[in-house]
Amino acid sequence: MTLSKLNNLYRQVILDHAAHPRHYGTLKDSKEQLELHNPTCGDILKLEVILKDNWIDEIAFSGSGCTISQASASIMTVEVLHKTPVQVEKMVTAFSELVTGEKTTGVQELLGDAMIFEGIAQFPARIKCATLAWKAIYQILQKAGRLE
């Protein structure tokens, strides 16, 4: 069938995260939170983090969205946990450059599993789905005054 190209987008890791998202739910204690909409598709992402000293101590997301945005949120939460705001900011930039195809090398270590979204550059309409969660973590840190 003609869908083999789809595998570039829907890699096994992505399908797995979408089906079994990590850190899905809400946090109990006092926390930073943010809700983002993707107006084009009606997706909603709620993100919560607990910042301790200078790192992300707990994180959770909820909401509804497509496979890409759910998987990306799940992977993002895994990758940013216990990182410092400054590190996360670098990751956000690197991820954005990765998915637009601007810069795809030398970021493996920084992005970890999020590298899986490299193939999305070929699906420009879906880039926004992948970046939604990263936009959310960036804005939440900004709102909390943790970024210069």
Partner: protein, 412 residues
């Protein structure tokens, strides 16, 4: 008939392309239609031979441009059976037309306590302007309910439309549910209570014969770009009696009669609404589009699209886990089919279909209150036009099945 209709495809070169290595099947016609060669040529020829600003010049090109520009009013008049070309106002599109009605007619006629009645199936363009008008004037905005198959609940309509109702605004055809609303019935209801009826014809004018007088509408708006014409041109039709009293909204250029330092008088309608240089080439293109559609025949287009749906619907309903919104009886279903495939997100479905050459839309279709009402966050929508073929139907069905197969271990 299918055979004969298929010939029209040749006039749409854009359809003869491969997308992601597959033959393009364009099923996003409710968003915008493709343009046939005669329309593209009409616009190019206008620029190659006659282009000038209208209404203003005594030179030959200006005269030619003005004549062509005004002639299209007559074409539009005949296309929707208005009683005079002066009832035809050029706009940017449906959205602008609806906003103008709300602002010009609405602001001058509504007061605190009046009610505006719309339906749960309205496009944001026939919803937000009324919401804003309600906020400004202190009027109340009410929503007519739907039946479980997506058709309008006329019982609900009868309850909501009362002597308090000043404006009823309804889509002629839904851009999501594939239903066509009983406009004449609603017009009677509205008029019985002294309300005016605004009809959003964005999804009907391209697909069926429109007779504004028979419909009993007071206002009827539509967009050129969904019916073969260029982008940036639409029509606001209203009964003369309303156009006469409505104040203009965009000031300057040819809409003016005379200007003094501190006051201005305006031309007669429709010209008083047409401030600034209009989309002249868009108007010329709209004329060509109407000629093209009329040569086929709007009744024929409607029948043909129904025949495609009669092919498609049963096939779709056979796919396990696929849910179609709107009526399941093909006879009641326009050429717009919205569906979901199990728990798969519509965006994933649309991407998978695009990889197979099939262009559909996914999302809330500018109808968030409807999504909310139906308890879904988004849908996939396939929308047909007369240049689609039964092969297109087959390719869509095949592609949906392959998509289901691809995602089978996951969320379907």
């Amino acid at each position: 008939m299918d055979k004969k209709m298929n010939d029209y495809v040749q006039d749409f070169p854009i359809l003869r392309q491969k997308v992601n290595d597959e033959q393009l099947v364009y099923l996003d016609n409710a968003a915008t239609s493709q343009k046939p060669r005669p329309v593209i040529d009409a616009v190019a020829n206008y620029y190659y031979h006659d282009n000038a600003n209208v209404h203003r010049g005594v030179h030959t090109l200006a005269e030619r441009a003005t004549e062509s520009f005004e002639k299209v009013r007559t074409k539009v008049k005949n296309f929707i059976n208005a009683s005079s070309e002066r009832e035809i106002v050029y706009t940017k599109g449906t959205t602008e037309g609806l906003n103008w009605i709300a602002r010009s007619y609405g602001s001058t006629h509504l007061k605190q306590g009046d009610e505006i009645v719309i339906t749960y199936m309205e496009h944001h363009s026939n919803l937000v302007p009324w919401q804003q008008l309600a906020h400004e004037t202190g009027a109340q905005l009410k929503y007519i309910q739907l039946l479980s198959d997506g058709r309008l609940d006329m019982g609900s309509a009868e309850k909501l439309i009362t002597d308090k109702t000043a404006i009823v605004a309804v889509a002629h055809a839904s851009n999501v549910l594939g239903v066509v609303n009983p406009i004449t019935e609603i017009a009677n209801l509205a008029h019985k209570h002294g309300a005016v009826l605004v009809v959003d014809g964005a999804q009907s004018a391209p697909h069926m014969k429109i007779d504004v007088q028979q419909l009993g509408a007071d206002f009827f708006v539509f967009s050129g770009h969904k019916m073969l014409a260029p982008t940036g041109i639409g029509i606001l039709w209203a009964k003369s009696i309303f156009l006469a009293e409505m104040p203009p909204l965009e000031f300057g250029g040819e809409m003016i009669n005379s200007v003094e330092l501190q006051q201005t008088t305006f031309k007669e309608f429709p010209w008083k609404f047409e401030g600034g240089t209009q989309n002249i080439a868009g108007v010329i293109g709209l004329g060509a589009a109407i000629d093209y559609l009329s040569a086929i025949g709007m009744e024929k287009i409607e029948l043909y699209e129904r025949s495609l749906v009669e092919n498609l619907l049963p096939e779709l309903l056979k796919i396990e886990g696929l849910k179609v919104y709107g009526p399941l009886d093909p006879v009641q279903h326009s050429g717009i089919i919205s569906f979901n495939l199990g728990q798969l997100h519509p965006h994933d479905v649309a991407t998978a279909l695009d990889m197979q050459g099939v262009a559909v839309r996914a999302g809330h279709h500018c109808a968030q209150p409807l999504m909310e009402y139906l308890g879904v966050s988004a849908m996939v929508r396939a929308s047909f036009y007369f240049y689609n073929t039964s092969e297109d139907v087959q390719q869509l069905v095949k592609a949906i099945k392959a998509t289901k197969e691809f995602f089978k271990n996951d969320t379907v």
